[in-house]
């Protein structure tokens, strides 16, 4: 097991390097030059040439990537071309917000998907199954921003500010800024709508997937055996059927992290949250190369690590699975 984990951890390095290189090349291939945005109405070609040289943007592409990598190896994530702010510092401030959003939206997704899928599978072709399936279908079809706007209209405007429409309150003890609001209740109030907006679509997808897996598993011999042994329906479904049916769902959950990061961009913008999603999209729009690299790096690492954890979860869900 240890060897397997070590091997997978080592594999992360080339994967992340490949991702950051592709992003590096893509960013420089699309039209737009951060120096123009940086100089704004003071732009002159002479100043632009000087600034490009200052930031090494006049060097060949591979040399630029090499410099970025060399600095990264020393723990230097670079400095934003536009704002002059250290990239790592900004990433670390924003990471906890997006991390919490993604974890909770996945929690929301599972909280909806698991009971809906169980009901759908156990009471197949009944009104309960049709209701769960229909809701899942609707959930898959509605984009995050639309759900977000609906929630905003309902909870912030309609119910007279029951939930805050924007901003963020940190969990006690995690405040990364000098001035900030930090409270458990405040945090819960701020994260609830974004997590719902992001989680509902995932819930719908997971419901459909888990229901299909459950339908297969409930027909297997070991479930029939469990029932024949006289086990009550609840342990049969929850302990024997659900655990095994979860394997494909967990795999998809890992892959869904990428979608959640993409969804976080939309949801964080809508709810004006200081997370990594808004950081990434702002960086891409402004062609702030250093920030984009930082965003690509952190999301690539997160994606790969989460999928490693998912793989490790298989051993818990199915003891027959062993990693040599």
């Amino acid at each position: 097991m240890r060897v397997y984990i070590l091997k997978r951890l080592v594999e992360i390095v080339p994967t992340v390097l490949a991702i950051t290189f592709v992003v590096f090349v893509m960013m420089r291939s699309i039209p737009g030059d951060p120096v123009v945005a940086m100089l704004g109405d003071a732009y002159t070609e002479e100043d632009a040439v000087r600034v490009r040289a200052e930031y090494g943007l006049d060097k060949p592409l591979l040399a630029q990537y090499g410099i970025w990598l060399g600095k990264l190896a020393q723990g230097d994530w670079g400095v934003s071309i536009l704002s002059g702010r250290p990239v790592l510092q900004d990433v670390l401030v924003r990471l906890p917000v997006t991390f919490e959003l993604i974890v909770l939206s996945m929690g929301v997704a599972l909280a909806i998907a698991i009971p809906a899928a169980i009901i759908g599978a156990v009471r197949r072709n009944t009104w309960a199954d049709y209701t769960a399936t229909t809701i899942a279908m609707i959930g898959v079809s509605i984009p995050e921003f639309f759900i977000g706007v609906l929630l905003l209209l309902l909870f912030s405007i309609g119910l007279h500010g029951l939930l805050p429409s924007s901003g963020w309150a940190y969990l006690p003890g995690t405040c990364p800024t000098v001035v900030c609001s930090a409270s458990l209740l405040g945090n819960a109030q701020h994260v609830l709508m974004p997590a719902l907006a992001l989680g509902v679509g995932r819930a719908a997808l997971l419901t459909r997937l888990l229901r299909a897996s459950m339908l297969e598993v409930v027909r297997t011999e070991y479930v029939t055996t469990a029932r024949a042994k006289g086990l009550a329906e609840r342990p049969v479904v929850l302990k024997h059927a659900l655990k095994n049916a979860l394997i494909p769902t967990v795999t998809v959950m890992g892959l869904q992290v990428g979608f959640l990061i993409g969804g976080a961009i939309v949801v964080e913008t809508l709810f004006a949250m200081p997370g990594l999603g808004t950081f990434g999209i702002d960086a891409i729009i402004a062609r702030d190369y250093q920030q984009v690299q930082g965003f690509a790096l952190i999301t690539a690492v997160a994606f790969v690590v989460i999928n490693l954890l998912v793989d490790l979860m298989y051993t818990f869900l199915d003891p027959r699975i062993r990693y040599a």
Binding site: P31, D33, M38, L39, L82, S83, G84, D90, I285, R287
Partner: protein, 535 residues
């Protein structure tokens, strides 16, 4: 000597800039509290001498102080300088500084400090966005610690404006902090590097999260500011802005989207809606020349294949566009249809819109004269960007209007940085673009967007008559004569159409009913020094 005369030149601004003070301003201001502000765009950086963007300016006007400031009626106000004199030939400006002004790092604001700042701005290495406004400066001399003289090479009627308000005006940094910290420290908003002398001092700026500034207790004006703290957050989506306002999460929204104003009013009948005559032009700019050798930026120019011909420019930009319809559809009527190079809210403006009535027959006739018609239909591209949704609405309306005269306009939408590169830096191959450009207090500011040698001369016209108009206007010290030049220039401009304004671009600020003492000064100044909260 001439200070009073110069300051009265812009009394016209009385009609251009609305001053909004609520009746409650007569009450005694309450001290304390936190003002929560929402901006629609992220602050791009905090070097008050170099960073672009209005959001930075709206911080600079609170953290920074300068020599002088400007009132909504165009009168110059003392800031670090308590008085000033201008010689009768307009070449020597003498400023007497207050003795009690200190920077946030505790050092004194004296003549040497002011000189250090002007020198820093004028140094080409600084790449300051306000450097062009100091071109007339010959030298800056320290007479004594509280007396500073600025000597000009030639008369420049807008030196006081440059110091008070062009972009953010002259913002003073403590020379010690200028020396100790580099541009990256200032750009990144390191609080120690932002040692200026404004009513608020920067506590922190966490990009994407918030900017916090606290009252500077040693501000030279006793008892000011009233607020303990100002917190600025970025809320990009107007729907979220409205929700936050309705829920009382924000006290003030700067640069609120014009097409959501009616909805916000309906939701919040007691909200203070602050606006004035538009000082920003909405343009449908046509490219006039292209590089003769095909190399972007080349000095040798050839006429643009379509809009190099003034007949086509007038057919499309003047008679082919229905400005009233654009305002009705895109702005829901909340803007002024306009054709002149100077927006309706800018000093010395003259309404020359009647020179460009919507006239399909005239447009078709001009196109026929230029060789376009059913046999040779005209097709071109409108470039626009995603910065504001309204640009795309306007481009769509123009496309529809041009179809009525047999012209096909294809719309290309790009993001702002691509647009900037296409339009400015790369002498891009565009035909027409829709955008609202910089807010103009006086037409002189527009030289840096429309003079032949300006980097931002995006139409790339080469007519030096435009430069001559600007030069005549800026060197004329008599306001009446200057007004005549301005009118002549506007008539010339609408005839040549190097610059095609279609309307003003309105600017809105929204304040909660409990926010008192705020004075609206359009995009030019957003100052919280006299704001107090009556909650």
């Amino acid at each position: 000597m001439r200070s009073a005369r110069l300051s009265t030149l812009f009394l016209l601004l009385l009609s251009c800039i609305a001053t909004v003070t609520s009746p409650a301003d007569a009450q005694t201001p309450k001290r304390g509290g936190t003002l929560r502000v929402a901006y629609g765009n992220e602050i791009s950086g905090l070097d008050f001498h170099t960073t672009p963007g209005y959001e930075m300016i709206w911080v600079a006007t609170n953290v920074g102080c300068g020599l002088i400031s400007i009132a909504p009626d165009g009168k110059f106000l003392p800031d670090a300088a308590e008085s000033w004199q201008i010689s009768s030939d307009g070449l020597l400006y003498t400023f007497k500084l207050r003795k009690n002004v200190v920077f946030h790092d505790g050092t004194k604001v004296d003549a040497a400090a002011v000189k250090a700042n002007i020198d820093h701005i004028m140094d080409p290495k600084t790449a300051s966005s306000v450097r062009p406004f100091y071109q007339a400066v010959h030298s800056v001399e320290v007479v004594d610690p509280s007396t500073l003289q600025i000597r000009l090479k030639h008369p420049y009627a807008f030196m006081m404006h440059a110091l008070a308000v062009y972009r953010m005006g002259l913002v003073l940094y403590s020379p010690a902090s200028l020396q100790k910290y580099g541009p990256e420290d200032r750009r990144s908003g390191k609080p120690e590097a932002e040692a200026s002398c404004g009513p608020f001092k920067l506590v922190e700026w966490v990009k994407g999260s918030q900017l916090v500034m606290d009252r500077f207790d040693k501000y030279y004006e006793p008892g000011i500011p009233y607020l303990d703290r100002v917190i600025i957050r970025t809320i990009k989506d107007p729907v979220t802005q409205m929700a936050a306002f309705k829920a009382g999460e924000v006290d003030f929204i700067v640069d609120f989207s014009a097409d959501h104003v009616d909805t916000l009013k309906a939701q919040n009948p007691r909200a203070q809606i602050l606006t004035g005559k538009e000082a920003t032009p909405m343009v449908a700019m046509m490219k006039v020349t292209v590089p003769a050798d095909g190399k972007p930026g080349a000095k040798e120019r050839a006429p643009h294949p379509i809009f190099g011909d003034v007949k086509v420019r007038k057919a499309i930009g003047c008679f082919g566009i229905d400005r009233k319809e654009i305002v009705k559809i895109a702005f829901k009527g909340q803007a002024t249809p306009w054709a002149g190079i100077i927006p309706p809210g800018t000093a010395d403006t003259a309404d020359v819109t009647s020179a460009c009535p919507y006239d399909q027959t005239k447009a078709k006739a001009l196109l026929a004269e230029a060789g376009y018609g059913p046999q040779k239909p005209l097709t071109f591209e409108i470039l626009t960007n995603t910065d504001k949704a309204i640009f795309n609405v306007i481009a769509t309306v123009i496309k529809e209007q041009l179809a009525r005269i047999g012209v096909t306009a294809n719309i290309r939408i790009v993001d702002k940085v691509t647009w900037l590169n296409g339009v400015v830096a790369k002498d891009g191959p565009f035909d027409m673009y829709v955008e609202d450009l910089a807010a103009l207090l006086v037409i002189d500011q527009n030289l840096y967007l429309s003079g032949t040698t300006a980097a931002w001369n995006s139409a790339r016209h080469t007519d030096t008559k435009v430069d001559e108009f600007y030069a005549r206007y800026a060197s004329e010290l008599d306001s009446a004569k200057r007004k005549v030049i301005a009118k002549e220039f506007q008539e010339f401009s609408v005839d040549k159409l190097y610059w095609n304004t279609i309307s003003g671009s309105p600017f809105y600020e929204i304040a909660q009913p409990w926010m008192k003492g705020y004075v609206y000064q359009a995009e030019f100044k957003v100052r919280y020094h006299q704001v107090w909260l009556d909650r």
